[in-house]
Symmetry: D3
Subunit: 237 residues, 6 copies
Amino acid sequence: MRPSGRALDEMRPVSIETDFTKHAEGSALIRMGDTHVLCTATVEDRVPPFIKGSGLGWVTAEYGMLPRATNTRMRREASAGKQGGRTIEIQRLIGRSLRAGVDRVALGERQITVDCDVLQADGGTRCASITGGWVALRLAVNKLMKSGDVISDPMLDPVAAISCGIYAGQPVLDLDYPEDSEAGVDGNFIMTGSRQLIEVQMSAEGATYSRDQMNTLMDLAEKGVAELIAAQTAATA
Amino acid sequence: MRPSGRALDEMRPVSIETDFTKHAEGSALIRMGDTHVLCTATVEDRVPPFIKGSGLGWVTAEYGMLPRATNTRMRREASAGKQGGRTIEIQRLIGRSLRAGVDRVALGERQITVDCDVLQADGGTRCASITGGWVALRLAVNKLMKSGDVISDPMLDPVAAISCGIYAGQPVLDLDYPEDSEAGVDGNFIMTGSRQLIEVQMSAEGATYSRDQMNTLMDLAEKGVAELIAAQTAATA
Amino acid sequence: MRPSGRALDEMRPVSIETDFTKHAEGSALIRMGDTHVLCTATVEDRVPPFIKGSGLGWVTAEYGMLPRATNTRMRREASAGKQGGRTIEIQRLIGRSLRAGVDRVALGERQITVDCDVLQADGGTRCASITGGWVALRLAVNKLMKSGDVISDPMLDPVAAISCGIYAGQPVLDLDYPEDSEAGVDGNFIMTGSRQLIEVQMSAEGATYSRDQMNTLMDLAEKGVAELIAAQTAATA
Amino acid sequence: MRPSGRALDEMRPVSIETDFTKHAEGSALIRMGDTHVLCTATVEDRVPPFIKGSGLGWVTAEYGMLPRATNTRMRREASAGKQGGRTIEIQRLIGRSLRAGVDRVALGERQITVDCDVLQADGGTRCASITGGWVALRLAVNKLMKSGDVISDPMLDPVAAISCGIYAGQPVLDLDYPEDSEAGVDGNFIMTGSRQLIEVQMSAEGATYSRDQMNTLMDLAEKGVAELIAAQTAATA
Amino acid sequence: MRPSGRALDEMRPVSIETDFTKHAEGSALIRMGDTHVLCTATVEDRVPPFIKGSGLGWVTAEYGMLPRATNTRMRREASAGKQGGRTIEIQRLIGRSLRAGVDRVALGERQITVDCDVLQADGGTRCASITGGWVALRLAVNKLMKSGDVISDPMLDPVAAISCGIYAGQPVLDLDYPEDSEAGVDGNFIMTGSRQLIEVQMSAEGATYSRDQMNTLMDLAEKGVAELIAAQTAATA
Amino acid sequence: MRPSGRALDEMRPVSIETDFTKHAEGSALIRMGDTHVLCTATVEDRVPPFIKGSGLGWVTAEYGMLPRATNTRMRREASAGKQGGRTIEIQRLIGRSLRAGVDRVALGERQITVDCDVLQADGGTRCASITGGWVALRLAVNKLMKSGDVISDPMLDPVAAISCGIYAGQPVLDLDYPEDSEAGVDGNFIMTGSRQLIEVQMSAEGATYSRDQMNTLMDLAEKGVAELIAAQTAATA
């Protein structure tokens, strides 16, 4: 049924390789099947102007794709002179999601920037970015705690994300690119380790969906996120 | 409890004034309380390159805010030299939502651009844009049908949108700005006249929410959308 | 003779609706026939760097057109990534004209930004912007005086603007779009309540004009400005 | 009275050196006192889209200043990433003014671009650009006629421009920079060889002026333009 | 002497991992010590306008660095809105160097774009990009030959690049970042497998160098390039 | 052999006219045959952020071409909205080269910006910019020393630049445009008065070159630079 032969509720193999690059305070290469995203976390002692002096920390994210991460080459955004709408939407989502898992008081007045760069894409890059980005963030915070710059752990609960959608009339978990490009309804669920919701984005393109279908997709998402959080825990143990 | 004194499930007064401007093929000024959005629909005989020759139509949207639509003046995006991330996210949402209510085969190979410009803002501008934008679109399509350019009505079902959120611990319908700026959880539901979902976006900032809360918000949304669709129907009768 | 049937020295009906939006310190919707411009005045306590510490105030303006204010849709400048030459010329003119009517010492070291956004266009938008912008400015200054922030009235004399041109060989007052697009010679006169000139801009495109014609146009302009200043006075009484 | 010791109606020395550069179809270095502008005219066989196929020609202009043409270094516009408002205003004025002196039917479907680059500035650069730009244009058209590409001379009448203003309470001709930066009222008159007006731009900054003053300035301008047209004629004889 | 303990003429360990990503026609991850660059080659059937119809092929390159490839985070160029001067210089150099090793007649009218993205930087990224880029290019051309799209091998001779410089008064081969940031004289030599020169760039910053020193550096470069070409040959065997 | 009839080792006539414009602290118009570049040096009391407080001075450069400096009109970079890759490469080279001839301690914490604007181009504009730019810089420093702002002369040694290349199989000195556009190998040598090298850039486009050829070109360059330094010395005596 699914092009990859997976069961409807079966995720692609997940692997998380920490410390893939040496300069960042935290880094991880996450692979969800053929989707590979390099995530790095950078700690800086400055915060955005709107929280200066508040004692609160900040977590933000940026997202990019290498031009040939995809099947046909996409124009490099640096050369086009601006980030596209899709990029901006995604990086806002990543930042928002990661912030939801952080106690900004405990973090203290510093900023952590999570860069998520897609080396190879096969659907679900924004979810992989959130899941892998959380690992990079966790590692960077570990370093801050080890050095004594942060005393009380600001990481409240792991954050992970998974896509679901309706493909060929069936609710499926973790869409790859061939599914994603055909699905009339698909979206992303960002959740915590304790199954609380952080963000739900479920869109239809040329289609609609019922509340019942929405509920089924949410069930699938809970299953997927549980597996991802296990992988995050293993990688950062 | 609510700053405006409204009940938890009470929307702000809605009014839709059609033909507010004379040049556009369809136009409507929608007012949801103190949020006022001017929506116009422009019909053009060209379509984007990626569907040229397909026989399919296209519906797209652009969104803007007058610099002093808000309490403090925002920098004009034309002068800043680019549309901000929030603007881009919103106009992509409007376009996607309106397309879900249109039979693109019946529309034929033409493009309708819905411009939503916020004259005055008090929260919920993207929802008002979708609801008012649908009216402008409906009116423009009416003109195409009257002239015989379009034979079979491409408008499948009305599309409307409403915000919901958790304010001071309580689920509330149709957040105004004072609520929106305090709510830890809020989002938008875009639905059709037959209660099908088109898009759900529920975000938390520095908070999380449970599936039960999600369900309550969805109940509120269904109530709100029903009222909006009644207003759309009255305005385009 | 004129497409609208007006007499050569007859202006379109003028109306000025104050407080059209609620956030700005001053706001007015001016209608000159089918040309409708929303003007808002924003007071800020900062001034541009070049007058910092001088004790002088500043008045500046920005101008924009909604994409479908015109007969065919124009590309949104925010999306194009810059303000066009025409926009920049117009907003510089509005700012310069309004400053000529203000005692910047009496205003004190603060800035007032007048935003003029064309909701519907039918020729003469820059003149309507100046005339309506003055009303928004007057209202904002009234508020500053009422609050005691400004003691001595900095508004020296009302400022209004009207277009004139040579249409079908005849000097006419207040050109609408059908006239404007045909006139070989046209321009704008910005004047004060005491008939002093602030700015004259008279251009020919593919034509020239004599000093005699220039004088006739100036006579028409004086008549028009007198009517506009009466409308301003009524609106701000 | 005047910083330069000139009489009120005395222009600065004017010189026009043709063929200053070798590549352009027409070129001239105009010097009005210490204001030096290099003007080149480029002939191309294409026209802007909006007149394609009309048989009409087009004349357009671009304006620039070398960064250290002025007393303090200005930021290079190419490095700033856009042309400033002043630049855009000026180049639109130059193009409009030169077009008024050209029979676009006789020119035929080709475009002439007049580039005006200020090598050294001391006030009046836009007027010098128009006057010198006309010479470059005349030379380029001469070449077209010599080669037989254009049969009937499209140059209707010479076009020249001069600034006037009220300095220290006195109407003066051809303001240099020290005057220009002090004058409360100043502007530019663009006229033809037969004393017809093409464009009048008279602005006040923090001041106003009467119709009588306007008339005196126009008398001065007529005197100045006559001298400029004599210089143009001598240079292109 | 050298921070890394290497001998003056000792290169860092080189490894080239081919097919690091799956979508590109050719791809290689080159590691020169801690400098890691992902190179991909994309084949397209179109060529730049200036050679359209000439029958000649084109090879071009783009270069980027992930924001945290370096010790401190650099601003993402896509977000800054333009590629910096250094980036542009480097990608022009890569393109020029690779073209020198290609017979553009044999390649036929198609374009190959080599993207070089630095995942981790420790000096010498442009040289690594050229050396690794050649491998990606070679692999992509192999594919074209295998499919029969290209008959005669257009790859004339391998192309590789190495940096040399004067560090602490001594000529050294293959500078790493600690050396590069201290060296007063350094540069890059791009050479072919048959020791012909393609490009020499030797710069001094706050220093100068003699012809004798230049000759010593060139001897070092010849040694380094020979080793790199052996690595390229092994990787593409 | 050479299109101009020059001997292989013969430069074009060089002239350097100082004080070509009056505002800059130093200015020179250099002519190398038909290549004419206006160079100005601007002294400012601020330095770039990265050396603030270091006591060191800075020398930087910007480069531009008038649109019709070349045989066909090039688009104005200010209008295109950015400086092209070639411009950026060249101005970085000019700045780097001039800095190599300056004792930045002796200069003191101030910045000198050298603007090089090509009025007419016939090959070799970057070399002419460096050679002429040095003269403007020398003159500006003279002024600083005369005023006592700088005590010890920071100008270490004259800096000049010349192009060489292989044209029609022969090594030639000082390529003009017809040679430059045909040469498969060409580059630039920047040297001091004492024959030390500052920068060597030797590129091949669709060709390669041997070390022997490189040595011959360097001999030619030494001859050329000696003549240029004589011209600089005469101009600044």
